[in-house]
């Protein structure tokens, strides 16, 4: 008899812990978008009045599926476009986190999703078979080529974003000082053989990543360190240089030196909202304008800030997207 009690007591405590977790869940959802606490409260109420997304006539009942690839920036963009279309009265089905670009493209082609944001450079090299070296380095031209490529598959690539999220090489400012403050990748030509470089797993074998850089700049790095967490690896010293993205949230801390791509090796990577033609018809010209307007403020600096809110501040992409739309006046502050 005595034996049962301690066991039941422990059971009760553990059940209480789980119940507490459930209560914690309610608290969080009610406090809602508390994430963007210091964002855009002074966003200028009078100027933004004109920005608010109006309900599109005939949007009622029309549903559209928006997808995204599987990293932070894509989640944020997917949320931004989805929430904007919802504000315009459409019913939006979110299918974010589809996977890598090939999976997302396949989903787009077979109708599993109606649209998703893709990078011009990625589309050209991964979908349309353009070699990295042949991709036009002019952002407008790259977009035109991308648009043509998608058009052949009955997909429309809407106007590109102001920001581009392309590769650069980066290192901690401390490390940069150590090796004489390089400002561009060419500055590494004599030092590369002593430096280890880190990148995501596929980078080692991709022509638009490590292999191409080494060829274009005539460099040979000492060692390639595979890592998903590029900034951690830089901070811990496990790698000297890393492949970074220009809109990475961690760059907002100012701790890192970014090397300029002086030989223009890396292709342009602007985002374009790739949408199936029949879905575009559903949106109509007004729906299309919503998409093109909502991405106008997205400069590199803004995108960095949004990414930082998710990656550094650990906020949810949904909240961050909402805060952005509110700050820019697209949706009313609730």
């Amino acid at each position: 008899m005595k034996r049962k009690n301690p066991i039941l007591a422990l059971l009760a405590i553990l059940c209480l812990a789980l119940a507490f977790a459930a209560c914690g869940g309610d608290d969080d959802s009610s406090s809602g978008g508390g994430g963007g606490s210091s964002s855009g409260s002074g966003g200028g109420s009078s100027e933004t009045a004109g920005n608010e997304i109006q309900k599109v006539d005939g949007a009622d009942g029309k549903s559209i599926t928006v997808g995204s690839k599987n990293f932070t920036e894509q989640f944020i963009l997917g949320e931004i476009y989805s929430q904007a279309l919802e504000a315009a009265g459409f019913k939006v089905n979110k299918q974010l986190n589809l996977g890598s670009e090939l999976i997302a493209y396949k989903a787009l082609q077979n109708g599993k999703v109606d649209a998703y944001p893709e990078y011009t450079g990625t589309a050209l090299t991964s979908f349309f078979g353009v070699k990295t070296a042949d991709v036009p380095r002019d952002a407008e031209k790259a977009y035109e080529d991308t648009k043509k490529g998608f058009a052949e598959k009955d997909i429309t690539a809407l106007a590109p974003t102001p920001f581009e999220n392309t590769y650069r090489l980066g290192m901690t400012k401390k490390k940069a000082e150590e090796i004489g403050n390089p400002t561009k990748i060419s500055d590494l030509s004599d030092k590369a053989s002593d430096l280890s470089i880190s990148g995501f797993p596929e980078c080692k074998q991709r022509q638009d990543c490590l292999l191409g850089v080494q060829d274009a700049y005539g460099l040979k790095f000492k060692k390639f360190v595979t890592s998903e967490q590029k900034y951690q690896v830089l901070d811990s010293g496990a790698a000297d240089v890393a492949f970074i993205f220009t809109t990475d949230g961690d760059l907002a801390s100012g701790k890192y030196a970014i090397l300029d791509d002086d030989k223009k090796f890396f292709p342009p990577y602007n985002i374009t909202f790739a949408i199936r033609n029949e879905a575009l018809d559903k949106l109509g010209p007004e729906g299309q304008k919503v998409i093109e307007d909502v991405q106008k403020p997205l400069t590199e600096k803004v995108m960095q800030e949004l990414n930082a809110r998710v990656d550094v501040d650990k906020q949810k992409p949904e909240e961050v997207a909402k805060a952005y739309l509110q700050s820019a006046g697209f949706i009313p502050k609730s």
Partner: protein, 243 residues
């Protein structure tokens, strides 16, 4: 060229849109540390994955128990089948979980069902073996007495052998419970979410990894305690020794 046409619109996002992140990489949660404060604030985000994980653990356990017990009772009666059944369930267990999820994905699609099929398969060998052993270990004398009293074969099975095998059966169930919770940690490969998916979403963030892992361990502990309690209720004649 692309930037210039958008300059007027930029004015809407005031400078206060941009937070000063100097030093953010040294504090929680920017430093990806344990961040207990962050965990306390965001615990609610783990509830949905936890619930998914609970379902992913309990459903395969229940279904698996019924199937494995059925198989074992069958093999207990028709002894010739025993080695074949054992080989079959043993082989299922050998398939590595990630591989099993991905292979089955191509056949049954992404989602909860696929994960449940895989997890149920993994419970089989653990429960089957214990049910078989439990039935075998029933003392000969007890069965003889029952036969002497005139009970039929079926009555002997359900009134004598099965109850006496319960401790072993429950032991198998407990092992299967914690094993299932652990393997459900990879269920996100099959598109079924769960706490493993939370770990994979931000593996560098220690606070996240620890929270999800601890929740899994707690879940396993709770399940085991529940099974233990049921065992104690069902076998009042035995002092259920934690085997």
């Amino acid at each position: 060229m692309l930037g210039l046409s958008y300059v007027p619109v930029l004015a809407q996002l005031g400078e206060d849109f941009f937070q000063n992140r100097e030093g953010a990489a040294e504090k929680c949660p920017g430093n990806n540390g344990l961040c207990l404060g962050w965990i306390a604030d965001n615990f609610g985000d783990y509830v949905d994955p936890l619930w998914e994980h609970v379902l992913l653990s309990i459903v395969p356990l229940a279904i698996g128990f019924l199937i494995a017990t059925g198989l074992a009772l069958f093999a207990h009666r028709y002894r010739i089948l025993a080695p074949f059944f054992l080989f079959f369930v043993g082989t299922l267990f050998t398939i590595p979980s990630i591989a099993f999820y991905l292979i089955l994905l191509n056949i049954t699609g992404r989602g909860f069902t696929t994960a449940v099929v895989v997890l149920t398969a993994y419970t089989q060998v653990l429960i089957y073996r214990n049910v078989m052993t439990g039935l075998q270990e029933v003392p000969r004398e007890a069965v003889d007495v029952a036969e002497g009293m005139g009970l039929t074969r079926r009555q002997i099975l359900w009134r004598v052998e099965f109850p006496l095998a319960l401790p072993a059966i429950f032991a198998g169930l407990r092992i299967a419970a914690s094993s299932t919770v652990g393997i459900a940690g990879f269920a996100f490969f099959a598109g079924a979410g769960g706490l493993g998916g939370e770990i994979f979403a931000d593996p560098a963030f220690k606070g996240n990894v620890v929270t999800a892992s601890v929740l899994m361990i707690l879940l396993a502990a709770v399940l085991e305690l529940i099974v233990l309690t049921i065992q104690r209720v069902c076998t009042p004649w035995e002092r259920a020794v934690a085997s």
